[in-house]
Symmetry: D2
Subunit: 321 residues, 4 copies
């Protein structure tokens, strides 16, 4: 039986470009005579029946905006069978034939439950600044987050150079060093601390002291939040080298802002593709882009730990500084 109405939601941490994906889902669907229900606050809205019919106009002038007009949340209740039951009840009641879900690892895991246990048709769209999903070169939001963090580091570099100081900059990334590694390389940072690789504090401190003797007095050290606390790294440096340090924790600034071109086109392409797959009767898949081509994988593969290659980039960084 043909699909008549789909739902769309954003879940987990928000990221720039999610609105571009929502716009694309809504307009691609409506142009194909599907109705689209916007589900608010992710799985929470699914459980609590917070839905609204969206049309072409509902998504005007949002392609360039950060955040998500559907709002988002982390929803532990959905991990319970009771929560899922209520969610499925909402889906049935609203006659929703399939879901386009925009989010990261947690969102996809929730969708796996819906597909496997409850037979709901689900297609995932990778929306997370961490770029830690398999099956796609890039996730929606990660390009913007990297550029936002980089702009902050460029500014910090002005002061680091002018005041000749050691700066420790903590960037987002609980389990992935993706943002940290990108901005370290692009920002010309002297060092980067990643969850993916062992870090040798004494060696770095020796380098700092050696550099200091040769006249190199300003340092930028990038730390992924999942690897260490910026504050701890800074304190240890001061203890070992007796040099003053400054810490900046970039924090939630990295989640917001107008999306880059890349995050908007990615959201736009993947939103439409998700609807196309739902219309084709697909389920349990996540969409992505590999080398500019659409790529479709199972949810299970998408959430299997994506390995961030760090060695080549790290070595390059150390050679170039």
């Amino acid at each position: 039986m043909a699909m008549k109405r789909i739902g769309v939601l954003t879940s987990g941490g928000d990221g720039p470009g999610m609105n571009a994906a929502i716009r694309s889902v809504v307009r691609y669907a409506t142009s194909n005579k599907l109705e689209v229900m916007g589900i608010f606050r992710g799985y929470f809205g699914l459980i609590n029946d917070e839905l609204k019919l969206l049309n072409h106009r509902s998504v005007s002038n949002i392609i360039n905006r950060g955040g998500t007009i559907l709002k988002t949340s982390r929803c532990p209740e959905f991990l319970t069978v009771e929560g899922q039951k209520q969610a499925v009840e909402t889906i049935r009641k609203n006659q929703i034939d399939g879901l386009a879900l925009i989010g990261g690892d947690g969102t996809y895991r929730g969708a796996i439950e819906l597909v496997k246990k409850w037979g709901v048709a689900c297609i995932g769209i990778p929306g997370t600044i961490d770029n830690d999903l398999n099956g796609t070169d890039s996730t929606i939001g990660s390009d913007t987050a990297v550029n936002t963090a980089l702009e902050a580091i460029d500014k910090i570099r002005d002061t680091a150079t002018s005041m000749e100081r050691i700066f420790v900059v903590e960037v987002m990334g609980r389990e992935s060093g993706y943002i940290a590694l990108q901005v370290a390389l692009a920002g010309g940072a002297e060092e980067v601390v990643l969850p993916e690789r062992k870090f040798d504090m004494p060696t770095m401190c020796h380098e700092i002291v050696d550099g200091n003797i040769r006249g190199k007095v300003s340092w930028i050290i990038i730390v992924a939040e999942g690897a260490a606390k910026g504050e701890d790294i800074a304190r240890q440096i001061t203890e070992m080298t007796d040099l003053e340090t400054r810490v900046v924790v970039l924090g939630h600034v990295q989640r917001g802002g107008n999306p880059t071109a890349r995050d908007r086109t990615l959201g736009t392409r993947l939103g439409a593709e998700a609807v196309r797959l739902l219309m084709a009767g697909e389920t349990g898949k996540a969409v992505g882009v590999i080398s500019d081509d659409i790529n479709i994988v199972d949810f299970e593969f998408a959430v299997s730990k994506k390995k961030l290659e760090t060695e080549a980039a790290y070595r390059l960084l150390k050679i170039l500084t």
Copy 2:
């Protein structure tokens, strides 16, 4: 015989990220005990012996800067045998064992001459905002150019919406609609005119008039400079629809600015890779990145016309507006 000294130059139009590539060439080379001569103004400097020894310090604090510290030019003289002879003379005189050349189509064609006719070891690094070289997903500068144009279009959208006007925005791209297509999709433009596809003016004018009747009064139409003059498109619209139009030619603003993270990491990775290839005795090759992996191709393939896929993206754009 082992390589002792290499040269590096930028040629053709400048683009953000070239400095990141220069920095990477210089530091990767010097850390491998190579000397690096910076050649100024591209092939012009090669002909006129405008060189300077560069060291680690010469490229400090440039990774985040637009333009190129080596300056650049278009040099018709290099197309003559006499010009090439002088260039080769400069190379010999300065005991340069190989060249890393950062530029686009014209730069690579010049390098082919040096390799084929004069036996000079040359490795190309793709630096052009047009993203029209084969063998790489992206060329250095194109990501920044797209984002710069996009930010301009976001601003124009403010006025287009507030004053309810039709705006024709001409973006760079003599032979490639790459920038135009990206910003049209990412900017939520209503229409795009590309060198790669036939454009139907009467159909667009009908859409404009139809939209106008339904209340859609603001339009953004992106035009690649290689497809048409923005001014001509605007005049034709006014003639056919009797509606007022405004034209903005973004022009050289698109070439400059601080490079995005992507252009910096691309420049950084490819600069080092080019030196590595020269050290390995390679020549006649261009470096690139495909789906995050280094990719090496012959110059001839790199300059063979890269086909920009426009149909899927164009259809998507029309569905979503």
Copy 3:
């Protein structure tokens, strides 16, 4: 009799910060128990009865947005007695006791008519990127426009330096050289052509040729659109010096974009002040800020030609380049 309901409109060219002013008018008024009618498309909406009641929520999340949510237009019809009659009819019909008008010279002149001929209570809020109104250090939108133009010039400088070229950059300002002078000084431009002062082309061309001989080969010349066409200046330079030139016309990009802090605080303070004056029974006045203090003047003074001091700044520019 106490004021119960006011109207607010934006008229003439849009400028960043107008939305901050609208927000402030609406919220300051409603918190004082006044109703606020939003009038769409400036005087056009007044003539054609395009109004909508606005509340606290209507102006949420607009303080940081360029353009104007009330839309704007230039409305020649309002210059006729018939147009004004209809406008006044709309005002009476909707029981509007006073108007807050956001705009420039033309807007204020329209308001003078409403006050003098028709006895409508009107307070003006200076909203124009040209900063050409008397009685205020700055008009809403001008700070953003200057910074937008400056960022573009920074980017152009990258290419001007890298390719060693002469760039002529035309900026907005039909009757005022304000933007041109500010960006020339802040951008380190070599020359500026203003409507307010005679310009000597042969002298500049001599300087260019002299500079060229001494090795200064890149130039940025700023031209206010009201003084000359960038294209004409460029052509004349090429004719006189035989040197290549490039032209960039920044155009409507300068009107849009997220407002700067200054334009937002200015809009915020002046919007509230306008309502306060209306509530106090004032009319025929324009609000402004002088050295951080609120300043109130008659419309007639506000529209009397503001003299832009150019000599000191121009001399300084020439000394410093």
Copy 4:
């Protein structure tokens, strides 16, 4: 006896626009046949004889750069008579006839010592992001710092709205709430905590809880670092309301970045004016701008506590949110 050679230094925290001031000092002086010695690291360089002759070229392409090419430091040694003696020795030895000093309160206090105790001709240029010096509407760097903080808050707002959270954002300002108040007003923040006014935590928490009941769930609370720690405010809110909070400490990002037009023109005008005063035999003065006119005051007045008017702005903020 006519002045032949002056010195220029930056001292204290760096700020965007200092380079524009340095450029202006150098070029204005050299165009008037004065020599200019750049003194590195502020008073530290004066004590340790770290000087370099600067010419027209030394300050090319710096007008648009954050930080200071002369570097800067805080120098406790200069507070001792011994330190001052050495500084004066350096001045005499290098035949420096007068100093242009760019910095804030501490820099000016140091200059007072040089003028009063040691008879050195000193003119101060207000360079600090805190905008806390008397005699000028604005200090160099403050406009950029406010806009940088504001852009960060715009980004945070995206997440605050999407995730419906309470964000506490700590901005710079040890003794002045200037930045905090400006960004709170311009950012549409719900609350601001300033060193200049008593803050009532229970009232705010009541407002938050009330708002929460009515459906207002996202808050931005700006805290000046001199008033409280963001972390403490956030913890207290959570304790009193039982609602989750997030903290962002913007930190040193606020010091850097390309200066705004206003900071560049301010630096440019004041740098030249300082040299003009030195040439006119003036000393012990600080330059500034009031309502676009140059304003000259004694150092003592400049460092007398500038009163930040907070009541009107704070009331306005609370009315509008």
